[in-house]
Each structure stands twice: as C-alpha cells, then as structure tokens.
Amino acid sequence: MSEKIKKVSIICSKGSLEGIYPALIMAFGARMEGIECDLFFTFFGMDAITKKKMNKIKVATVGNPAMGIPTLVGAIPGMSAMATKMMMKQMDELDIPPIDEYLEMISDAGGKLYACKASVDMFKLKMEDFCEQVDGVLTVGEFYEKSAGAQIIFT
C-alpha cells in the first residue's frame, strides 16, 4: 500500500460559491481524516475570508454551462441570488455550513487559513478586513515553505 497523505495545502482562487466550497470541503475533510491542512486564499478566493464579502458569495449563473440555463436568462437581475438561495438551502439540509461557520469549524479543527500577499496588496486589504480565523498573510515563497511535504491542491 502506498503511503498515506499526511498534509495538504489547498489554494482557493475563485470567489464564486462553486469556487469556494470545494476548497472548504476538501480542507475540513482533510482535518476529519487527521490530515494536516493549510488553506491559502488568493485573488477573488479571498472574498471567502473578507468579512464584508464572505456572506454575500453567489453562484455564477452566467458563463457556467453546467447550470443548464441560457446565459441571457442567467443574466437577468436576481437570477444569481435565487440560484444561490436554492443551493444554500440544499447544502444546509446536508449540514454543509455557511462560509463563516465553516471557516470557524476548519480553524477549530486545527486547519490554518492564510491570505496571499500579492492579492492583499492588489486589493488594498488589511488584516482587520479578514475574519478572525485568518492566521496571517503569506508571500508565495512562504506558502511553499509551509507546504513542505504537503500535497498542493489548486481550486
């Protein structure tokens, strides 16, 4: 049998609901298995940890062929909000928590959350813009350093 995974570093780079959740589920799932886990948020993925934005994350109804609705319909105001509401309800039934609660659980479970320095500078954000669970801002170099011996997963 091949060796078990001991550590993962997950990069969350997208700010849509369907972009953020896979990263959070993979991260919490890792901790459930006793796998060490670092989560690194970059570009619009940082919306997930930005206080003002984390509870306003939406599903992309445009440019998302898997949604099964024509782009023009998806562009109607309120479509994205409606699709998001439906999806959140479905997730709640499965006990998948909202983003803020999920981050709290990941952090309580021993997972570490980091923001990407380049993106932080680009979006002119400060530590106080992030939820309290965020452990710090890392450069790419520091991220790789932390990821020594880990599997890196980009989402």
Binding site: G29, R31, M32, D95, I96, G110
Partner: protein, 104 residues
C-alpha cells in the same frame, strides 16, 4: 470480518476495526477500544459517546461534524482535543458504531 475481544466478550468487527453490530457494544468495551488509540476516557469523552449512540439510534445515521456541534453541544475544538486527528472516526469506533460515511 474479524473478531476482537473487549471486556472479555468476543465481537465482530470489520477490517478497519469498526463494529459489525453496534448491539454487541457495551460501555465496558469503550475504555479498551479507546486504549488501542491511546485515549483515556473521561466524563467528557463519555458525553460524546452517549450523544453519538443516542443520535445514531434516533436518526439511523452518524451525525455530521456540524450536528455534533449544534445538536450534541460539543464544540469542534473540544471534539478535536478529546479525540485528536479524526475525532468523528475515532469516537464512532470507540462507540461501536459504523465508520462515518459523510464528507462533512
């Protein structure tokens, strides 16, 4: 299927050590199963095991991590402190329940 002896009673377990039949489980066995994982059971541990057993009986499924927190009143932090690295799997094994099958 394998057999194990806990508290002087032989029980059926699967390849990973989870009970095949949770009715074979008794409280006396819990301490011995826990010891295999280097866990010394305390009152706090027992509270977790009690909730797991009663919730499983009521719902017919292992509670999610969120349910442990919300319905079981067991904060995620404490859960990890009591059963380090994989608390749901470990506590289910100690409680004589099947391996958790959910992603959350």
């Amino acid at each position: 299927m394998a057999e194990k002896t806990y508290a002087g009673v032989t029980v059926n377990v699967n390849d990973e050590g989870y009970f095949e039949d949770n009715k074979q489980w008794t409280k006396e066995m819990a301490a011995e199963i826990a010891k295999e994982m280097d866990i010394e059971l305390t009152e706090e541990h027992n509270k977790v095991l009690d909730f797991l057993r009663s919730d499983f009986e009521e719902k017919g499924a292992i509670p999610s991590m969120r349910r442990m927190k919300k319905a079981g009143d067991i904060p995620t932090k404490d859960f990890y402190r009591l059963f380090p690295d994989g608390p749901l799997k470990k506590s289910c094994k100690i409680a004589g329940l099947p391996k958790p099958a959910s992603c959350v």
